[in-house]
Symmetry: C2
Subunit: 118 residues, 2 copies
């Protein structure tokens, strides 16, 4: 029995801005932890890297996707904006639709795999 | 006017084998040039790298995806097998289906982009 392949959707919003599983996971982790630092730790990503990824999204979209929760330093807590939530929801929806649209082709492709020794 | 985002589909066939735009482009270039070396040059990829990518696919699938055209050294010419053609066609079909399934969501997402200075 061959495992069903999994897909990753990468969206080139523009030549400088990629939206893929990593940025989606980061938005989701910020939503769940209320903190960029905690989200970074969960994803084993430095605060600097997490902030850089958010910054590229904040630059691309007309509204920021993440803001500090209480004004002031974003290390003190962060939350998704309405735009950030739309971006995350949209990405999850597109992942699901893409998976569903190609499920049968993926199964056929996996059927061409060599059988592995157990 | 915001450019429509483009998508890339990455398929994790198994934890060791990714099928994405790079491998699809390589299969297509071999099909068009009849040579691994020429395909590698077209994609600005070393022969070694091109061969490594083919080898990972040959290992995953029950039949090789590329074979030497005349038996013997594959530098002398290469072609897609029936399996190789199925893999390439399947990937292109899945790309198209995924794009089509999320076209409206992509347009909505792009509508959230900041307007760039012309």
């Amino acid at each position: 029995m061959t495992r069903a392949p999994e897909i990753e959707l990468r969206i080139n919003l523009d030549p400088e801005t990629l939206l893929g599983p990593g940025k989606a996971a980061l938005l989701q982790a910020i939503d769940e932890t209320g903190s960029i630092a905690a989200a970074g730790r969960r994803l084993e990503m430095s605060y600097k890297r997490a902030w850089y990824l958010i910054d590229t999204m904040n630059t691309y979209f007309s509204e920021p996707v993440v803001v500090s929760a209480k004004g002031g330093n974003s290390r003190g807590g962060a939350r998704l904006t309405a735009t950030g939530r739309k971006v995350l929801d949209s990405y999850r929806r597109m992942e699901k639709k893409a998976r569903s649209a190609i499920a049968r082709d993926l199964a056929n492709l996996a059927g061409l795999a060599a059988q592995k020794e157990p």
